[in-house]
Amino acid sequence: MNALQANISGIIKSSVIDGPGNRMVIFFQACNLNCMYCHNSHTIGLCNLCGVCVQACPTQSLKIDTANKRIIHDTETCVHCDTCIKVCPENSSPFYKKMSVENLISEILEVKDFISGITVSGGEVMLQADFLVEFFTAIRKYPELKHLSILVDSNGNVGLDKWDKILDLTDGFMIDIKAYSPQIHKQITGFSNEKILDSIQYLDKKGKLDELRLVLVPDYNNGEDEINKISTLINKLSPEVRKVLIKMRKHGIRKKYTSLKEPNPEEIRKVQNRFKEAVISVFTI
């Protein structure tokens, strides 16, 4: 049917936290931001077959397959020590797989009776927007799947033309706002945020913004000025957009960022109160 493939870092067949109902979640490899608090930093980069992990693996479970430009992973001998992921200079992993639309469809078919829909997440899914077009079109055409809702969990860091490609095929988007000020955004993610702010407003205008999330990182994005700016932005959006305040957690973050601190109850309450003053109802998790 088509030759397009996506780099898939994982699939969860039952998730109750990635949108309404029971959902299958597909995680795409590679991201165009580099957040300090990323819990899955091995999904940020793409593998360049450098072989560092192959050398580092204590059980010799990895081999480079030069002909097919991929790494072969022996699941029998692997002891799940994660050394390979930790040593990878590319923030990548030897485990993600290339999958076709057909591969993914057959994964969904297995659980179709149990789910409300699917959520694609990352990494950054929009980097593989062309694949998404084919994938979502296939779902919409498939008689047993077309009723499923399709949600996209994105960092929003792409040009508006990318959204247009999949807008009509998608039920809703869940976008993170990491910070309002470009400087703070750069500190947290390594990149500026103009595209993200545009995307948020664009998706909202199109009636497709489901959820906006703010991950609270003390000493970075919890300042009064910052929260006020975010509130102003939120107040311009339609009130139906679900607003979620997420406490940054240090679980799984990279060594060099362990000095980050999780927000304490006082800091959370402060931000909650700011939102309250701005008449914004947020859900904290």
Partner: protein, 513 residues
């Protein structure tokens, strides 16, 4: 005689039992003075070493184990024996039922079935407001919990969405009682998503109702059915004379030979033996005690002998499969490998064939055959997993779990249960549970029960206890008969580690004396 005297004395002086519980236990001792209904020596031996278990029904059955009165008929005709006229309004209907409940016999002394309560009360709603219905039901619920303090007491609602069903769920969330146990009959056509959603939110609070696959269960019965005690589905206006269960683990442990020999010799032999015991007990109840000629429920047509059958139960399928696999040199375990699951399925199918091939007297409700029942376990089951369940703590992911157990469900017309555990986060997303329940029913599951980790209620084999009640019971005894059963269960198994199964109640307590 000396022995009886000592047993009686032990009951009389047990500070953990209240007056009613003592009376119940004394009756059990008195019953045990009678000779067991006549069965072969081999069958008596199997009962003694628990290859076959009669669930402490007693040696001289003088009442059926499960009675499901036709409450609808009773409300319509009134009851002469109790000098009750047909009720004319909501209050009278509740009062009528409250009185009748206390006269329905069972093994535990408390009725295992209180009716499809919304269907029973709807004709009496008239112009009552939602508020006043709620208030009346709340008092009714308090009455039930305080006077029928046994977690096997079971009430049903559904399948249609209605004001009573909604009020029941609201009361449940509010009063947070162990009793009554509750089942919602779910029908893909008749039950609204909103009602199912309300039920799911109620489970979040009080670990009930169970959700029954009404479309499926209803085809197994000629008339109406009820879900009673621990997931037993039985005909209304009738019930089950007895429930005898086959311990698949024990018979496999003692089986020498390969799997083929198990199917050719051991399994049929013990199925027949179980059915022999069932037959002897039915005859004793019907012919010697003449229960159906003498009890007012039967005399007044509230129950009818033709609506009765018996139950052939089994448990320990997981251990049976694993042992047979091991004996054949395989490392396949039940719930985790296709081969093991297939073998489990074959065992259930064969049992069902034996049960269906054996005519039994006074079992007209199921065309002269017993209902087969995947028995959800009791406190003494230390080594055996309930029914056809996957052992606690070994459950695979939810889809594999459902796929492993669902194929049994259509065969088990007497009721089967599996318990699924959800993380606390699902409370924010009840729709997710709704999706999974619908999927499970599509896959052919008969009953869906789930729990939230760390809930205040603990599901023991088939019923609930409050975490705090358990603790108290160990120290000073509990108002609930079933708590002592649960305490034993909790001590025997890590049930509060994973929250687990569902049990029967006082019969076991009585047998300890």
């Amino acid at each position: 005689m000396e022995d009886i005297k000592n047993r009686v004395r032990e009951v009389l002086t047990d500070g953990c039992l209240d007056y009613k519980q003592k009376k119940h236990n004394l009756a059990y001792i008195a019953e045990s003075t009678q000779a067991y209904p006549k069965v072969s020596d081999e069958a008596m031996e199997a009962l003694a070493d628990k290859k076959i278990c009669d669930l402490f029904e007693g040696s001289a059955p003088y009442r059926p184990r499960y009675i499901l009165p036709d409450y609808k008929l009773a409300l319509k005709k009134g009851i002469k024996y109790l000098e009750l006229d047909p009720p004319t309004d909501f209050d009278e209907a509740i009062n009528f039922l409250s009185i009748l409940y206390s006269y329905v016999p069972s093994i535990t002394g408390y009725s295992v079935y209180l009716g499809n309560i919304d269907q029973l009360l709807l004709p009496f709603v008239a112009d009552l407001s939602e508020e006043s219905i709620y208030k009346k039901l709340k008092l009714f619920w308090r009455y039930i919990d305080r006077t029928l303090p046994d977690a096997f007491v079971h009430i049903n609602i559904g399948p249609e969405d209605n004001i009573i069903a909604r009020a029941v769920l609201k009361v449940e969330r509010e009063v947070k009682q162990v009793v009554p146990n509750l089942t919602l009959k779910y029908d893909t056509e008749k039950t609204s998503d909103a009602l199912l959603n309300d039920a799911i939110k109620t489970v979040f609070e009080v670990a009930k109702p169970h959700i029954a696959n009404h479309n499926m269960i209803t085809t197994d019965f000629k008339g109406e059915y009820g879900v009673v005690s621990c997931y037993n589905s039985l005909p209304e206006g009738g019930g089950s004379h007895t429930l005898i269960r086959l311990n698949l683990k024990k018979i496999t442990d003692q089986h020498s030979g390969n799997t083929d020999a198990f199917f050719a010799e051991t399994l049929p032999k013990y199925c027949e033996m179980t059915l022999d015991i069932i037959e002897a007990r039915i005859k004793y109840l019907v012919e010697t005690v003449k229960y159906f000629e003498t009890d007012f429920l039967a005399q007044e047509g509230i129950i009818k002998l033709e609506n009765f059958s018996a139950m052939f139960g089994f448990y320990g399928l997981a251990e049976c499969v694993n042992t047979l696999m091991k004996n054949e040199g395989h490392d396949f375990t039940y719930g985790h490998s296709e081969e093991a699951n297939q073998l489990g399925h074959r065992i259930v199918e064969e049992m069902k064939q034996h049960v269906d091939a054996r005519p039994l007297p006074y079992c007209e409700a199921n065309n002269g055959r017993a209902f087969i029942h995947s028995q959800s376990g009791i406190d003494i089951d230390v080594e055996e997993t309930a029914g056809a369940r996957i052992p606690i703590g070994e459950e695979p992911d939810i889809y594999s779990h459902i796929n492993a157990v669902a194929p049994h469900h259509h065969l088990i017309n007497g009721g089967i249960s599996d318990i699924f555990h959800f993380d606390d986060t699902v409370k924010r997303n009840p729709q997710a549970v709704l999706d999974i329940i619908k999927g499970a029913f599509k896959k052919g599951m008969r009953m869906f029960t789930f729990n939230i980790a760390n809930s205040e209620f603990i599901r023991v084999t088939g019923y609930l206890v409050r975490r705090s009640d358990l603790k108290e019971f160990r120290e000073e005894g509990s108002r609930y008969g079933s708590t002592s059963f649960a305490a034993n269960s909790m001590d025997n198994k890590n049930v509060d580690k994973r929250i687990a199964k569902r049990v029967n109640s006082n019969e076991r307590t009585a047998s300890q004396y």
